[in-house]
Symmetry: C2
Subunit: 199 residues, 2 copies
């Protein structure tokens, strides 16, 4: 039997996660308007720049954990806007890679400090302890979501590689994710690396 | 001078908020696929159903804190899919309102328990105390984002109406949001209700 108070809190939390992200995105879109970018476009630009450009669209999508199709659409608009250029892979002419144009580089340059200033300002509201607690709690949800999306991967390995330096978190998560009796999966199991869903 | 460790943590937190939401959306999209819906479409359906339908698109957008333009595009596809119908406002023929078709109602019916089951399962990982802490911390960020998007509104009022029943939170937020010297704004100021950005 579920505690009704806990059920209410779960509904509140679900709504709060949605609203927090939506407002966060709206803030980012507003800040980046000055550079003529949306948050989505900014993330694609950053991923291209730091993702060993020229990079394949499928790899940009994998990094951003978005579908290849949606990243392709964003990239198409950015090619038209002159921010991104397409090139053919030297080894395999069928593969399309993307890199930043000079215009893309110049657009990205002021966008990052503007974003960063905003993030710092907003997060200054939280104490170091609060930030740590928030990052750890979200990390737990994030890993659970990943486990749901990729039931074949070894969750213990994912968690181990992604916990935010909180000593007891790994134990807590393993305890919650692997109820007693599933020791085999916890200790051995599939050793494949995390495969992200890219469709 | 910013503490470099705290700066790292802010960057981690920023990335974690993005990843948590993206994976959450990917999970929801996967669950709702069975009903032929995306998470965005589901949210629009729910808002139409419980938002005193027939409802104006601008009101759906306001509830979801999205731009009217993006909600219009989602609704257009749903009209084509036979889930939503458009009607003219009786008082003002220029205003378009939307409501669910029978098909929309029947699609929505199994989607909500499917979603809810997933949310409960994922959140069962967190203790009641963890859930409460997470909701409260996100609530703080959410209010900060709203204040950034609507600098003209009375933040004290927003916070008071939205804190998640944590007695000391209001005080902590007011203290952080209104540094000493801005007592006037805190106590009096603009009494307008929260106007959400709908563009």
């Amino acid at each position: 039997m579920v505690n009704p108070e806990s059920e209410d809190l779960s509904a509140t939390l679900w709504r709060t996660v949605y609203q927090t992200y939506t407002r966060f995105k709206n803030c980012m879109d507003q800040i980046l308007k000055e550079q003529g970018l949306t948050m989505e476009q900014y993330l694609v630009l950053v991923t291209i720049k730091y993702g060993n450009a020229p990079i394949r669209i499928t790899d940009v999508a994998r990094w951003l954990e978005r579908s290849t199709n949606s990243v392709s659409m964003i990239a198409d608009r950015m090619v038209k806007a002159g921010l991104v250029r397409r090139t053919r892979d030297k080894g395999d002419r069928r593969v399309v890679r993307v890199s930043l144009t000079n215009n893309g580089e110049n657009t990205l340059k002021p966008a990052t400090p503007a974003n960063w200033e905003f993030i710092q300002k907003i997060l200054s509201l939280l104490s170091y302890k609060d930030k740590h607690a928030l990052a750890s709690l979200l990390e737990m949800l994030k890993c659970e979501f990943l486990g749901y999306l990729n039931p074949e991967v070894n969750m213990a390995e994912i968690i181990k590689n992604s916990v935010t330096n909180q000593p007891d978190l790994y134990e807590r998560m393993v305890k919650n994710i692997f109820p007693s009796g599933s020791e085999a999966k916890r200790q051995g199991g599939d050793k494949r690396k995390t495969k992200k869903k890219t469709e």
